[in-house]
Amino acid sequence: ISNHEVFIYAILPTMAEERRPKQCTVVLPTESMKAMAESIGVGQLQEESCAALSEEVSYRIKEIAQDALKFMHHGKRRKLTTSDIDHALKLKNVEPLYGFQSQEFIPFRFASGGGRELHFYEEKEVDLSDIINTPLPRVPLDVSLKAHWLSIEGVQPAIPENPPPAPKEQQKAESTEPLKVVKPGQEEEGSIQKGQGAISAEAKGKKEGLMRMKPRSTHELSVEQQLYYKEITEACVGSCEAKRAEALQSIATDPGLYQMLPRFSTFISEGVRVNVVQNNLALLIYLMRMVKALMDNPTLYLEKYLHELIPAVVTCIVSKQLCLRPDVDNHWALRDFAARLMAQSCKTFSTTTNNIQSRITKTFTKSWLDEKTQWTTRYGCIAGLSELGPDVIKTLILPRLTVEGARIKAVSEGPVVSNIDKIGADHVQSLLLKHCASVIAKTRPLPDNMEQYRADYGYLGPTLCSHVVKARAQAALQAQQVNRTTLTITQPRPTLTVSQSGIGGSGGSRSPSIIKVPSSLTLMSTRPGTPTQPSPPATKYIVMATSAGASSTQQVLDGSLVITLSSSSGSSVTSTVASATSTLQPLVKLESRGAGGLGGSRPLQKYIVVSLPTSASSSLESKSGMLPPSSSSTSPISLEAGMKMDHTGYVPNGTLLPI
């Protein structure tokens, strides 16, 4: 029977699904019996024997699976593991199957063809030298104990260790179906069912009060909340960067903020209105970072406040003037950042009813097409559009390259109008090059002919061509990188181990060692030390960035694990990788940015972005899809570098702010 036991693993998924249908009359196909008989040298098994065998084997397997369930229950788990099966076999006095120790992964693949269906065991060839050269994985963290208050005298405190007091669905229900909530008592009931809080005597009294009062009075803030609000808003716009980082972190992670959300929203929109008029760039940046933090908080239902937040964000993208000295101050970075925020909110919140994305697109396009639009606004419009993704770039920006090129030419080669216009035109040019090159690299067939480009794209053509060539080269290089890197992710579950194999492809002096933790940073494992996030399907991920002198923080957000490492090297390798990878393979993105592009002599940054497949692989895909496309052209501003990562996590970076 030992041969057949292997099949336990194959049918386990079937067994698990059999919860609903009452009886399982599933029997292994007789072909499997034949195949197994052949594999041990018994040819020509009678059909009847096969049938008898398969019934017997199915029965035994079911028996073992039922025993294994016992072990699962006593292991206090919901998931049946291979070790449960081993123990069940041991109960039956059968030698357990050795070698299937992994917790998650069932090593069978399904294939069909030629009329035969097969489950087979996938064994890849492994290059030993790769394994030997792989740096050792990080030691898994040891078990540790952490205490927190689940309840204080019957009331559950709203701390990150506890689930958010009002789950997103409830917030949504409140905002979308207010009538339902108004019904007295229902709220209380709902909260009981959802496991929120207790009905202490006090709460009971409240409940009776609610009978007469509309429950919308939740906008009242407790004294603590008012204090918190004051502290947070002061820190967010204050001068102490460390405090600000903490405050933003709190906004991004705290589960109990939903009651303060309307205040925050108003604070931001009013703040933007005032500071745009006063051209206070720093404050605008702070406010945008607050928006970012709010959006990062998985427990908040922001939809209700978009009408205030989106205008504020759009203002920061397209406003004519955002700072006092447009020729010196780097308001471009703010526009980029806000544009990215806009893109993110389009992705998250756009639905067929509110149509945010198309409305935003229209707004941008309209003002871009306007002849009288200033360069600053023009830049904002283009940035806003191009952040919306390659499709938007392809349909809206590429066709206008020629026109835009001519306009740029007029400024840069024509008579000097004003310095400001010239700077604006320069920025628009580099922005267009950056975004268009990667899109063209993906869509336009080879060869890249300078003349052809000029014919197609006008003034910008030749420059664009060289960018495209570069982008293509890096994409190819990176594809290679990924293949190698995938192999070295050895221990997907307990700790995430990322390492780069060799330096082969990338050349240069990049050290092949794995993640080095820069002194100012802490590297968090996939499992945070505390149960920080309730983010259900997603794994944790961490963003870390460093550049010389940058004060860095990390943030835990939804989606994927992002690890950045810093090392200084002269390589200017950059590329992105096609995001189509098999679901079981960790998705690895390597992006290293060099000073090669339009470059200044900025410190280099490299990011390795690793995302693990989770159940929510679709969300992952989208996350990775949001990674900036190939970025061969680098803005010479370090702010750009910091913000590059906004898609996965924003790094509050002290040096970014030219105050």
Partner: protein, 751 residues
Amino acid sequence: MAAVQDGQLNMEVEKDIKTEITNDGSGNINANSSSPGSTSSGGKSKSPAGSGEDQQTLLAVLQFLKRNKLTESVDILRREAGLSADADDSPVSDSAGAGSGGVPNVSADGGDANSLLSRVSIATPVAPPATAPPKATGSMASGGEDQPDVNVVLSAYSQQGDPVLYPLYYNGLKKFIESVLDCHRAELSQVFYPLFVHMYLELVYNNHENEAKQFFEKFSGDQECYYEEDLRILSSMSKKEHMKGNETMLDFRTSKFVLRISRDSYQLLKRHLQERQNNQIWNIIQEHLYIDIFDGMPRSKSQIDAMSGSLAGEGKRDANKAKVFYGLLKEPEIEVPLDDEDEEAENEEGKPKKKKPKKDSMGSKSKKQDPNAPQQTRIPLPELKDSDKLDKIMNMKEATKKIRLSPDNLPSICFYSFLNAYQGLTAVDFTDDSSLIAGGFADSTVRVWSVTPKKLRRVKSAADLSNIDKESDDVLERIMDEKTASESKILYGHSGPVYGISFSPDRNYLLSSSEDGTVRLWSLQTFTCLVGYKGHNYPVWDTQFSPYGYYFISGGHDRVARLWATDHYQPLRMFAGHLADITCTLFHPNSNYVATGSADRTIRLWDVLTGNCVRILTGHKGPIHSLAFSPNGKFMASGATDGRVLLWDVGHGLMVGELKGHSDTIYALKFSRDGEILASGSMDNTVKLWDTLKAFDDVELDDFTAATGHIHLPENSQELLLGTYMTKSTPVIHLHFTRRNLLLAAGAYNP
């Protein structure tokens, strides 16, 4: 009131023998037979045929032992039973023949225990004598040597009916039951499930595979949903060969399914079956069902549903008649050097509470013995050491600072999350003073943490110890090795996941039970293993120290709970009777009883002194995973995989409440120190608090309900729910009230 059949006793006998043989293997007969009290489980005290039957049983056991060359055991048993040395050879066939009422003795190897067993089992008066014996011998010949009982057990199915008629019979009965008056319908519907099972098994046994399949498909949908789990196992059995060695199968066969039916309903059924000459069904009812008839009103559907659901029907009412001394033992009087304030406080709230740690330092108030309490010396308890006394004093001081809980004053909950446990946390325990936490893990380790600033230290090595000045005052400090101080210690020794863990009350020892079949005793002074108790050959699911230390109980896959004393490497008592794995074990606060919960969906209460089963509590619809006694010993709570908590009155053996609310297995239950609040923790990541005071108050026990056990459960479990606290993603697997009534919860964070 009367049992329907005379053959019942025979069946019991056979069952007992069988459990012994299958469960213990030959190695452990020793322990069992030396305490004959434990052999007979359940309430078969009134035996009409008395001594003759007993002797027959004994002889059968003797035969078995002899055959397996266990001569020592034979001697012991003989001595214990007072049998003469030659009594066992000759009279076997005689007594068997006499006992079994005229069944011809056809067995080939006359004196064999096998044949005796088979005769006993066939000996039911209703079994058609023409068909049974040849079949019995036939199947015996084909059966393996290793499990002699299986064929015997199966032989009862050998009677042949026309397989085509089975669905007709069943349908006929169904139609009849549907047509009877409402009040009887619910009661009579109880017979559907056991009938269905036995008819199906008969079909399978007689190789009518297709008919069995059809029969199953046709009628399995009619069965109550809580039997789903069993039906699934049943459906996978489609061949006679499968029945051999299948535990569930054996359970069905060896244990009679117990039904409680009012006399009127029963008469109705009987008349119907006799009118129709429906022998097939009548035979099954006679053979495999035990119908417990009572006089009075038929029970309602909800009453029946509340009690049914176990593998073998409800407990017999007789089984719950024995008196249980549920009161608490008197606490020893300890002279306490009380601080004045403490004394004040003590006197203020000094109204006598039935609470375990409740002691009266002045010895004035609780001098009276609780009438329900067992005698102080009913079982020998270890003597108090000085350190124990100190601890009790501490306990009392703490108790004065205890928060009085009530629905308006809920406890705070402190949650201990095990991080990075990778789903490997399988058991947790706290010490009574809440200073230590122990965790059992799937990787076979046991880890102990100190949750107070006091670190864990090991005693110095023997060589170092000899250098210590033994006269010094702080010798207890000096023997500790400062170098080994750490917040946690890991205990290595098991070779399988650790499923049960328990601290001794004096905090010197830790017990752990594991998949590897052993229970280990660890010293918390040296952090080494002291003893490995071997006896369970299969996974040991749970173990628990007695509240007075010294004794402990363990139970596991082999369906036998064993009572041990720490200084004996063999069990003192073996409690056999459960029909499936024992999943959880618990001592009564007075240490005279142990409760075991099982995968057969029953809870049994065993008397430590006699080894008898004194309560069988049915009503759960899934394997029971947690038990808790109220501090006054009067009530018990149990939680199962079905997400319900049931409350029991131990003294009357009645279900007194049902708490619905959890959506997944309940792994942790605990009463607050004064018993006002019950906390339950579940796989669904919540801790819930229940108002037990109200729950127990609501129960009205008039004489009738107490006598019949038919209780109307209040339908208000939502009103009893005081609070629900959700964790982020941490199943709650242990709960503990500190001496000041702070609730501690523990579980592994499961991202």
